[in-house]
């Protein structure tokens, strides 16, 4: 059922973009002494609005970080004259369910692709490696079922 829009394999752009993501993670560690995990940063931002398990002292830079994230595609569009290429699944119930599950899962598992993936693997954390192997596996199985079974 899901859309399978073919995409072009972009090894150099992806490697370059990956290096930028790594640089950002290093900047966050150098300046704030923290792991650059986006689910954790988002949780910190939400602490400004609802009671969350997050530290208030880290709130301001985390809010600024998310504003930076959201500004990035706008800057890209200004420089290149067009939005980044994007195809977002449109099934409304699917996207609501996906968002809910990603939120609950990253909160229970204490991290996502950035916190466990990039930062955790760079720390050689066995816990993060276990998380990465697990979410990569269930994500691949999910896509296989949605695209090739149903």
């Amino acid at each position: 059922m899901e859309l399978s829009t073919p995409t072009e394999f972009t090894p150099w752009l992806s490697l370059g973009g990956g290096i930028l993501i790594g640089l950002s993670a290093v900047i966050v560690m150098a300046l704030f002494g923290r792991i650059a995990g986006i689910s954790g940063i988002t949780t910190g931002v939400m602490g400004a609005v609802v009671p969350m398990q997050s530290s208030a002292s880290d709130r301001d830079w985390r809010i600024a970080f998310v504003v930076g994230l959201v500004t990035a595609p706008i800057l890209y569009a200004i420089v290149t004259g067009g939005w980044p290429e994007q195809t977002v699944p449109s099934a409304p119930l699917g996207m609501i369910a996906a968002g809910l599950i990603v939120g609950v899962g990253t909160a229970l598992g204490s991290g996502c692709t950035s916190g466990h993936g990039v930062c955790g693997l760079a720390r050689l954390s066995p816990r993060s490696l276990a998380a990465v192997v697990t979410f990569m596996a269930t994500a691949a199985i999910t896509v296989f079922v949605l695209r090739h079974v149903i």
Binding site: S14, G33, T71, V88
Partner: protein, 145 residues
């Protein structure tokens, strides 16, 4: 200073997501679709990001403390428990359905695709719900400081 630094770090991270193609759910889903329209790009993103972080962390950790805060706060929990694996398994399920993890969801926001505008609020509700469950849920056990 903290605000400018936080903004700059987020901007660099976001540009990395956009340039690498990871802000596009189709590209992420194609990485996960090994037996279909496979696109290995995500492995190059993870490789570039992880190696850069590995090297950078070791340089940074030579300093006694971070520049703008008191000390390094690095996770010390090393136990691989059911909560970690359940959470990671659920995250993979949602990631496979929507093609979004938290970072790319944020960078997709200004393009305002209908799917993004449903995903982000649902993710925020999910993060709150997951935090509540972590803290003991209905059993209401004390929240760790």
């Amino acid at each position: 200073m903290k605000l400018i630094a936080g903004f700059a770090a987020g901007l660099v991270f976001g540009l990395g997501l956009v340039i690498s193609g990871m802000s596009n759910p189709a590209k992420v889903l194609n990485f996960l679709d090994v037996f279909g329209t496979w696109d290995p790009s995500l492995a190059f993103v993870m490789g570039g990001a992880t190696v850069t972080t590995y090297i950078g962390y070791r340089l940074v950790w030579k300093r006694p403390a971070p520049v703008l805060t008191e000390g390094f706060q690095i996770p010390t929990n090393r136990t691989i428990d059911a909560k970690l694996l359940t959470g990671a398994a659920l995250f993979g399920l949602g990631w496979g359905i929507g093609g979004f993890c938290p970072g790319p969801a944020w960078t997709a926001l200004p393009m305002m695709a209908p799917g993004t505008l449903l995903f982000i609020p649902a993710m925020l509700v999910g993060l709150w719900l997951g935090g509540w469950l972590s803290a003991g849920g209905l059993r209401g056990s004390a929240r760790p400081a």
